[in-house]
Amino acid sequence: MKTVKVTIDGKEIQTSLDRTILQVARENNIYIPTMCYLTKVEPIGACRLCVVEVEGLDGMVLSCQEKVVDGAVIQTNSKALQEERQNIMKLYALNHPLECGVCVKSGECDLQNKTSEFEVNEQSFSLRDIKRKVENWGVISYDSSLCILCEKCVKVCNEIVGKGQLKVEPGGYKAIIVNTKLEDSCIDCGECMAVCPVGALAVNDFKYTTNPWELKKVPSTCTFCSSGCELSYEVKQIGIENSKEKIYRVTNNYEYSSLCGAGRFGFDYENLVTKKDEDEFLNAIEAFKKAEVIKFSSLITNEEALLLKKIAKRVDAKLVCSDAFGFSKFLRAFKKARGKSLWSSTQKKLSQSDAIVVFGSRIKDDAPVVKNHIAMATKRKKAKVVYMHPIEDFAISNLVTKFIKYEPGSEEAMALMLLQVFANKEEMTQDLQDFVDDIDIGFLSGESSISEEEIDELKEEFWKKKRFTLVVGADVFNHPEVENIAKILAAIERYTDFELLVIPPNGNSLGVSLICDLVEKHEGFSVGYNAPADYVLSALGDGDLGMPALNQQEGTFVTLDKRVVPLNAGLEYKGFILNDIANSLGVGSTHTIDFTKELPVDKGFRSIEFDSLEVKFSVDGDDLRGYELETILCDSQIELSEPDELPSYDGTVIYIVNPASNPNPFTNRAKLTSSEAKLIGTKQFASAAKISDGDVVEFEVCGNYISRVFKIDDTLKGTFALNPTFDMGLKAFDLPIYRFSKVKIKKRG
């Protein structure tokens, strides 16, 4: 972009031609008032408060939308501007009740702030009142009489979430926001509410329970998936007598980042333990002492992972982590083949791609905010998005340009085909070239039941595209050939235009895999840390000894953007914690977070104190939280193999997946996100299993007997059913199987 020189309020500034006046002003700490500007979306231009004057130009220019041109001399403040801005604020006040006393937003309301900034106190024009009603949108409600039609909600729902649920229903002064397609597709993510500058959009549950200014903000990280989104717990003491604190809500830096519904609404999953249970604590120490296996889930902090590692070494036990083991194998194999410890892409890069392949994930459920970044790419980059999966996802069909359906189990074949289609062979070693040339596409395409044309069309789909990202999801980690798949994907990242974005299977699977040396399984007495075992320590409160939940802990997580980000305790935990046990075993420290600086440097961690990890974003919204994990380089050795035979999945097949709104047993404890677990399948599945909608069915998954209501979903195709695990308690973290499995369905009764 061409650089240009502009002068704003007498200050000479060098910038580039694609920046708006407002962006340049903000970068230079020059204040221009705005009501409808939201950094993460394209300018809205509804409030008109941001007008400025340009020398030599009649009229006023809209700074949030107008880009700077060379030589412009801009004035952001003058009597005339002030007058117009004040007039606009008067207009806002026109039909707004300004009954802040009873409004949830009071104290953090943009309208309230701006009316006082512009000293609008009297209503100088008057308008007849129009009666409007409050609409219920699910978790959220919309009060049109408070709405100032800034359109921020409309923008985020479309541009960030990719849903496009919200529209301005025109009608001049009677205009309102409507939630179209309400029933079937609002995903209750709450993005719209987060950006609403006034009290028009609010969580039903939060209304009138507290005043915003009484809440204490605790910046932290969402742990429910590996996006590790930034959030703050907003906390207050429950009452004057009751000194107990409670999380009232979750907010985030909505100007730059996003949350999904689980992260935003599933915050009250803490483990309420009132005191330290000394007796049980001693039992726990004993259990650890005799443990031959320590089992855990990867929904723990890096520091806890390190503690477990130290404890395991002390008591000479093996570490088993079912939900991260496959991924850790993937990571090792990937590193060896790639010559680099980590993948190259990030969510930000994904959002800037124009050619995207999603592979092995039901993305909108597995990683909702990754899906948001795909939506951003779709909208802003006109991205072509190829969704490769055995089950089509109707809910994101507006983002996907091509769906490629393959047979469950054929991920290895699919990866090979991608490699063959996109490889820049000249750069490969002769051996690898020969291997790629010899790939038997006919066989692979037959076995995975996709046609060779479909593969060729892939190349056409991305014709003339510039930035390629391959998103790889959890389906591959428990695939029997995960190591070969990892190597093929490494080859893809190395020898094609694609960069990889890998979605680790659980909140901190990446951190855990880097810190701990895991084994698949081990016999003998087992202690479980948030995992089923002979002796169980559980944050769900259902074990032998309670443990703090992640909203009660300090520590760090590693996100799929490869950043080490901080967690702070929203609530206090009164019982014993892992560090206490470690201390008893002689490997602990004063605080768990003393271990932050001891995370393994050879794995890319840095020797940094927990307290110096910051939560911040750049002016352009780049995530600068914590620090970036260093990518470790090594020799690259690519030796690939081709499958001789692919597994076949016929009959009734279930797919393990939790809905975005309720991803795990913790969110299932939270008031707004808990739900009934159902088996959701196709008509075909129903007839193959001889069941019908509403039946209670029974089946077995990985040794667990499960019983659920069956529901038919007409938008699904194939002989599949989606099976959630959020109601399984800790067992949900102990399913070391490929996500598709053939099951026998029995009708109960």
């Binding site: 031609l17 694609d18 009501m35 394209e42 300018p43 231009g45 509804a46 409030c47 008109r48 408060l49 007008v51 340009v54 130009l57 009649d58 009229g59 006023m60 220019v61 809209l62 107008e66 880009k67 041109v69 060379d70 005339a80 117009e84 007039n87 606009i88 207009l91 806002y92 026109l94 039909n95 024009f125 308008l127 007849r128 100032i148 039609l149 359109e151 409309v154 923008k155 479309n158 541009e159 496009g164 529209k167 301005v168 025109p170 009608g171 001049g172 002064y173 205009a175 124009d354 909208k379 802003r380 980059k381 006109k382 072509k384 069909s397 507006n398 983002l399 996907v400 340009t401 003339k464």
Partner: protein, 669 residues
């Protein structure tokens, strides 16, 4: 010149009140003095002033009504604070004055509010609405004062008067189809591609097509040109359409198609080109039964079999076509040539018939020894039919069988000829020459700068100021051409320079093919002689250009067969209007226009775009975006689409240059 009582239109100030009729000054604008037929209008009020035709009119009411109409039309806008609330305040205050309850400070309040609207509104509609109101307050102060001082109702308060308004924009007015350009551009700015497409389809069903190959007359009326360069209006249209087809979305209509009426009424359409398809679409949306009869085995008319794949990929055009044929009341009959007899049958059987058979006969170059049966003489339309039928449908055989390694000469200078030569290159011709009577500048004006240059890059040799005098054959096989050279001789009297043949400068071109692409004519065989259909002087079917009925009752015509060879957007416009007229005609037997159409015609006559207007509130100097094209060597041996279209960012940046020049105008009758 028009007689008006008072006018401030476009800065003229005419005040004939209290003047003898013979001293009256006349307006220099084509103001709508008569509304329709013999219904006179009393006043016209709009973005650039107000004109009074009836001395007795109540201007307080007029101003109030104008503010009200703006309120009602806030559908087009209502998306910024000053516009949304300001308009409401203006109306409330004017209403109060008209009611006889106004106060002196209300006038001050109106002025203050007007200033805020003028300075800070999002689009021109909000910025311009106050202007004529302020004009009236200034020049008709007495009427306002009377209401306020005497606290009396204005004289037409509460009376039944009719006010008809319409929203337009300079670009909309210049677009033959009157596409709501600011709306589809605004939706792109919002990245709401579905809304963008549905805004386009209100008047333009063929969005994939007109977002690619429309010569974009709208851009000649883009106000942004007054500031720097016009918006790339045409190419922005493509984004909404491609979003629909790339994501395999279900059809995006401007509104939900009505239920089939099944009332026995049915309309016949001859020809499935842009005209026939568009008429079928808008009739079909209303649930009216339509049968289309098409001679060719394929649908789409000249855009399917004329415009080549590398400019208009058939997969994309087919989406527009399927949009139409997906409507439950639309039925198509292909391979169904309608001749004069069949037309008579159809006309009898159907409640109305629309002719949309185009102009598909290649005209001759008028050279000596020009015989269509000579081997090597090949009309442009026939040649392109063959090229397209093969590449797009695998019907027939490849034209490379004929043209490979041959020397091809094309005579032309318009769109068709450029397509001929560029196809000839792609079919492997050894040498391709274009002969044109005029110069390079004119060919660019007739087509587009890009297209001409793309042809040059691909290796077409252009010989300007030349024309074929004689064709030489051997045993009826074309061998060579004798070509005259011309020069431009300035007219000594200062008139247009004349083309004069240069004596003795003739030259010969040896070649295998001569493809005349000078123009096309109608195949009038379809018209029964005894109907004595009235024709224009250039031998196309004559209508009044407003309701599109021919001289034969119940027989309508639209597109190239009505206008002569023109453009897609022209065909779409005419067909849409005809469909609207037909939708009433089949029930009432009358030819009527609705208010919207009447206003549309008034505004076109008045002209909305003013190239001398000074732009306020925007900075000049943001470059117009240019989309990416394939490199010459990437494109000249294949049929891949040359224009890759805007990237997402380019489109948004371009959309953000658009100034949303909506205006509202109103007539009082």
């Amino acid at each position: 010149m028009q007689r008006v009582v008072f006018s401030t239109w476009q800065g003229e100030l005419i005040d004939n009140r209290n003047k003898p009729k013979d001293e009256w000054k006349e307006s220099s604008y084509k103001l709508p003095l008569t509304y329709e037929d013999d219904l006179p209008s009393r006043a016209f009020i709009g973005w650039d002033g107000v004109a009074i035709f009836d001395e007795d009119i109540d201007v307080v009411r007029l101003a109030c009504e104008y503010a009200l109409q703006y309120q009602k039309y806030s559908e087009a806008c209502g998306r910024c604070t000053p516009g949304r609330w300001g308009g409401k305040v203006l109306y409330d205050l004017l209403e109060k004055i008209s009611r006889g309850e106004g106060l002196a400070e209300d006038i001050e309040q109106i002025k203050k509010m007007s200033q805020t609207m003028i300075r800070t509104s999002k689009c021109e509609i909000g910025k311009t609405v106050p202007k004529p109101i302020l004009d009236l307050i200034e020049y008709y102060k007495d009427q306002f004062d009377r209401c306020i001082l005497e606290q009396s109702k204005s004289k037409e308060y509460g009376k039944d008067s009719r006010y008809i308004s319409k929203v337009t924009a300079p670009c909309i007015d210049m677009c033959p189809s009157k596409v709501d350009i600011p709306a589809y551009i605004e939706a792109l700015k919002d990245m709401d591609f579905e809304a963008s497409l549905s805004a386009t389809r209100v008047t333009m069903p063929l969005a994939h097509t007109c977002g690619r190959v429309c010569p974009s007359p709208c851009e000649d009326g883009c106000r942004r040109a007054n500031l720097d360069e016009p918006i790339s209006i045409m190419e922005l249209k493509r984004l909404g359409a491609d979003y629909e087809s790339d994501h395999n979305l279900s059809w995006i209509h401007p509104y939900k198609p009505e239920f089939p009426r099944n009332d026995g009424k049915k309309v016949a359409i001859i020809g499935a080109g842009p005209a026939g398809l568009s008429a079928a679409y808008y009739l079909g949306l209303k649930g009216i039964a339509v049968d289309i009869f098409e001679e060719l085995p394929v649908l789409g008319g000249e855009v399917a079999v004329g415009v080549p794949q590398f400019r208009m990929p058939i997969e994309k055009y087919n989406k527009d076509i399927e949009l139409v044929t997906s409507l439950p009341t639309v039925t198509v009959y292909t391979n169904h040539r309608v001749d004069a007899n069949r037309l008579k049958e159809i006309h009898k059987e159907y409640d109305a018939t629309l002719l949309g058979f185009g102009a598909r006969l290649s005209k001759k170059v008028r050279a000596k020894n020009e015989r269509t049966d000579m081997e090597g003489y090949w009309g442009a339309i026939e040649m392109l039919d063959k090229v397209n039928l093969w590449h797009k449908y695998r019907i027939g055989s490849p034209v490379s069988n004929e043209l490979k390694d041959k020397t091809v000469v094309c005579v032309g200078g318009g769109f068709t000829s450029l397509d001929v030569v560029r196809c000839a290159i792609r079919e492997g011709a050894k040498k391709v020459i274009m002969l044109y009577r005029r110069d390079e500048k004119t060919i660019i004006r007739n087509t587009t700068y890009e297209e001409y240059h793309e042809a040059v890059e691909e290796g077409v040799e252009f010989i300007f100021h030349s024309a074929v005098e004689e064709i030489i054959d051997e045993d009826n096989k074309l061998k060579k051409l004798i070509v005259n050279r011309f020069e431009l001789v300035p007219d000594p009297d200062g008139g247009k320079p004349q083309l004069k043949k240069i004596e003795g400068a003739n030259f010969e071109i040896e070649c295998d093919y001569l493809i005349p692409a000078v123009s096309q004519a109608l195949d009038t065989q379809i018209l029964p002689e005894e109907w004595e259909i009235e024709m224009t002087s250039w031998n196309s079917i004559k209508t009044n250009g407003r309701d599109f009925m021919t001289s034969k009752e119940g027989l309508f015509a639209a597109g190239d067969c009505e206008y002569g060879p023109m453009t897609i957007v022209n065909a779409v416009y005419q067909a849409k209007r005809a469909a609207s007229v037909i939708s009433r005609y089949i029930y009432t037997g009358k030819l009527t226009l609705n208010d919207d159409e009447i206003m549309e015609d008034h505004l076109s006559r008045l002209k909305v775009y003013n190239k001398d207007e000074k732009i306020v509130g925007w900075m000049a100097g943001l470059p117009r975006m240019v989309s990416q094209k394939l490199e010459t060597n990437e494109r000249k041996t294949n049929n891949l689409e040359v224009n890759l279209g805007f990237s997402g960012e380019e489109a948004i940046a371009e959309a953000q240059r658009c100034m949303r020049c909506y205006y509202i105008a109103m007539v009082a009758v």
